[in-house]
Structure formats: C-alpha cells, structure tokens
C-alpha cells in the first residue's frame, strides 16, 4: 500500500495541482525529538513518467511521521509542546547562522547540529534577524532530532524601537516579504524537524503581514481535528 500510480492528462503549457489518494500506514515508526526515541525516517519518492517520453522528473524527500502541537500556557505564559501526544520539556539553543560569511557547508551544519544533539538539546530557535535556514540545516535536524523554531525576518530593525527609531511598519515592500515567506515555507515544510513558524523576534509583525502569515499558515480544516482513541473527533 505504500506504492501508488495515478494516471492524469495535463494540458499543454499548463500548471496543475494534484493530490494523491492518501497512503495508509499501520503503526508507522514515528519520528521523535532527541532524547524521546528514534528519528525514524521514510524515503518518499514521487516520479512522473510521460507517455512517449519516459521519466520526466523525480522528487525525493526523507519524511518523518510525527505530530507536533503547541499552545501558550495560561498559567505561566510559556509555550508548551507535545510531540506524538507526549509532553516534551524543551531544552533549546538560540541560532543565528553557522558562518558570518555564509559559507554554509554541509559538514559544518552536521557538526554544529550534532553538537546541539550531544548537549541533549531538543530544539533550535532560528532568530528572525538571521536566516531562514537552509534544507541542509533541516536535514541534519531531522537526523539528530532537533525541533526547529523558525522565525521570519522581523526584528528591532523594523518595529519602531531603538535609537534611532526604526521603521515601525516593517520592511518597505510587504508583498515582497510575503513572497519570500511563502517560498520559504514551500522550501522547508516537509522536514519533520520543523516545529513552529514565528512571525518575528520578540514582537508581532505589521498587521497586514501578520494577518497574511496567519492566513497562509493556518491548518487545512482536514487537519484541525484532534486525534483521540477512536479516530478523528
């Protein structure tokens, strides 16, 4: 049941969106953060063959079955996380980037992230004044079980604070910000280590950006329902 082929016709010069019928797994090996279990990963391969041509394109991605939930705790004001239904005590490290000249080699990512894992951390927070980290960063977070808290690019430079006072309305081009945000989400969304998107560092983005991010990152209604012992409630 983990192999499926569908036939479809795509009109000339067009772009379509296609959803596969869901694939069923019985007791899949779950992906767990560092210290809670194994980081089980499945290899998902999508190929498209075109009649009269052969293989036209191929996509491959390591995928982890996991469910991450979080909410703000009313009593403490802190954010509480659950992974696969289990509460997790977050031990996190703050991250800006691996190298100030952006020589972001895989070897360096592997070393830095494994170091976080060896320190018994289970989360890395990517600060909004740094990078939207790269797929290689996320790959090693997938491997070593580091959850990632990824912020967008809102900091003290764009919130009306500081001396001199910064632009209170974020970057000048809000459409460009959202274009970059949407593309970044598409780049990183399939990594099991990706735990949380955050609008920015220590504040809320400008209203229109915040609304757009919330709108675009909301759960599809199909996934909003919580799980319980007998299935979707």
């Amino acid at each position: 049941e983990h192999l499926q082929t569908q036939h479809l016709s795509i009109p000339a010069g067009s772009r379509v969106q296609y959803t596969f019928p869901e694939l069923f797994f019985y007791k899949p090996n779950l992906w767990w953060p560092n210290g809670m279990g194994k980081q089980s990963l499945y290899n998902v391969v999508i190929t498209v063959d075109v009649k009269g041509y052969g293989e036209s394109d191929l996509y491959s991605q390591l995928f982890g079955f996991r469910k991450i939930e979080s909410h703000i705790d009313n009593a403490t004001g802190g954010r509480l996380f659950k992974v696969n239904g289990q509460p997790i005590f977050i031990r996190g490290g703050n991250w800006i980037l691996s190298d100030g000249l952006l020589r972001l080699s895989e070897k360096r990512y592997k070393t830095d992230i494994k170091f976080h894992s060896d320190m018994n951390f289970n989360m890395i927070r990517c600060w909004g004044g740094g990078l939207a980290e790269r797929p290689e960063f996320y790959y090693y977070c997938d491997i070593y079980g580091l959850l990632v808290w990824q912020e967008f690019w809102i900091t003290g430079d764009v919130d009306g604070r500081g001396v001199p006072v910064s632009n209170p309305n974020g970057p000048l081009d809000h459409d460009l910000f959202m274009l970059c945000a949407r593309d970044t989400v598409k780049l990183l969304r399939n990594h099991p280590s990706l735990a949380l998107w955050v609008g920015g560092n220590e504040q809320v983005p400008p209203d229109d950006i915040n609304k757009a991010l919330k709108q675009d990152l909301r759960l599809h209604p199909h996934f909003e329902k919580s799980i319980n012992g007998s299935g979707i409630s």
Binding site: F20, S40, Y53, R103
Partner: protein
C-alpha cells in the same frame, strides 16, 4: 551523452571580481570575452555559494574579519558605497539536452538582486534574499559548453553604523527583505558587505516535458497512532505544446537494517 534528469550543482570553477573592474558587458563576458585568471586579471577564484566578502577573504584581498580586530580594516559599505560590493561572478557548465528536455537554472538564494547572462542572453533576478529563482533557459542553453555570468547588487538600504556602534546600526537594512544581523548587533560586529552575493545553492535542473514542483507531504493519525495516512499534493507543470499523458507515481520506503528496504 544526454544530461540526466535531475539536479547538478554548480559549485566549482567560479570566478569573481568587483563591478568596477569589469570593462566589458555581461553579453560580451558570456560570448566573446570570457574572463580568465592571470597575473594581470582582476578575476579571482570565487566562493559560490558564499558572499562577496567570502570571496575577497579567500583571495586574500581582505583579512578574515573574524580574527582579532581585522574587521576594522575592512571598509564598510556605508563608506564605500554600494558599487564597491557589487560583484560579478562567472562560470561555465556542460550540457546536452534531448529535444524534449527542459533546463532550469536555479538560484536558491541571492542577496539582494542580480542580472544573469547566459550565452549572451540576459535575465533579471528580482529583489529578495529569501526566495528561490528558477530560470527556464531551455531556449538559451546549447549543447556543450555554456558561459554564465551573474552580477549581484547589494541590498538597497545597507545602512550605516553610528561611530558609537549600537544594535542594528541605523536600522536601514530592515527596509529590505534580507538578513538583519549584518548591521551589527549586541553579539556581532557589522558585516561589511551586508552578506551580498550568491549565498545559497546554484544548480541546473533537467526535466522532461512535465516538471514536479514543491510537493507537500503531511501525515494524519488515528487510533492512538496505530493508523496513519500520508497525504501528498504536488504541482505539475507541462511545458510542452501538447497534452501530456502522465503516470504519476509515489513510493514510500524505509530502511529496516543496513541496506534492506521495506516497500
């Protein structure tokens, strides 16, 4: 032999130099006047992916800013002007396409915008540090050697750092959609080129008539994680001039032990 379907990274063989030292056009660079290294040439081996500063450090034109107080000896873009850190990159790559194949030239990150020249043809890469650029160059690429030049411009608002320092300098960098630590922070000295450059992966990507774009994989769980479903959605683009009859295949495997896989 035709180029295989898939990605080939272009991470070696790059040359680079400052814009002020380039005396020919991008069209000429990628047709009649390709650059070369030499004692009188302004071109040096470039770090791609990497920043302008990374290349200038590699070529020993500038000291490593992260040793001692060497950063103080590197001119800041606020004082030099944006053209000082406007930088040209050049490389070549081999390619052989079949008649029905397509080729994309992909940049996963450029800071802040660029002009791309391939075999004398110009393409614009618009602003924004955190966006991918995929250029369909099927009609431009030729079988054999291809000449590629890229001129990268710094952020529009690199800003300046007050003499007394301060978190985020004058905050001008925040007007652009770019990384913001580069004007200096309470934990970091200013980055003199504001991380200008081809800072992330560059690749060419060969497909047939139909291309897979940004699949989305999501799982749902039932019965206390006994049952799980994988939901996969993808975009597909048919670039040919006729209807494409496609077989779309998804396969999920897991490595049990060693090299044994379960399908």
């Amino acid at each position: 032999m035709a180029t295989a379907i898939g990605k080939t990274k272009l991470h070696s063989g790059w040359l680079g130099t400052r814009d002020r030292d380039v005396t020919v056009t991008g069209v000429q660079l990628t047709t009649t006047h390709p650059p070369s290294l030499g004692p009188t040439s302004p071109w040096v081996e470039a770090v791609v992916p990497g920043t302008v500063l990374a290349t200038l450090v590699k070529s020993k034109e500038l000291p490593d800013p992260f040793y001692g107080l060497e950063n103080e000896s590197i001119i800041d873009i606020a004082d030099s002007g944006r053209q000082w850190y406007t930088f040209w990159y050049f490389t070549t790559f081999q390619c052989k396409l079949l008649g029905t194949q397509h080729l994309d030239l992909n940049f996963r990150g450029i800071n802040y915008y660029a002009e791309v020249y391939l075999n004398g043809h110009k393409k614009d890469v618009p602003r924004g540090m955190f966006r991918r650029h995929s250029l369909d160059v099927t009609d431009i690429v030729r079988n054999g050697e291809n000449l590629l030049a890229v001129v990268v411009y710094p952020p529009d608002h690199p800003g300046s750092i007050p003499p007394e320092g301060g978190q985020g300098g004058d905050h001008e960098i925040g007007k652009d959609v770019a990384t913001q630590y580069v004007e200096g922070w309470d934990w970091m000295c200013p980055i003199r080129d504001r991380n200008t450059g081809i800072w992330d992966e560059v690749s060419i990507y060969v497909t047939g008539p139909v291309k897979i774009i940004d699949p989305h994989l999501v799982s749902t769980f039932y019965d206390n994680y006994k049952r799980a479903y994988l939901h996969a959605t993808t975009e597909l683009e048919n670039r040919s001039t006729s209807v494409a009859e496609c077989s779309l295949n998804i396969q999920v495997t897991t490595e049990l032990e060693g090299n044994i896989c379960l399908v």
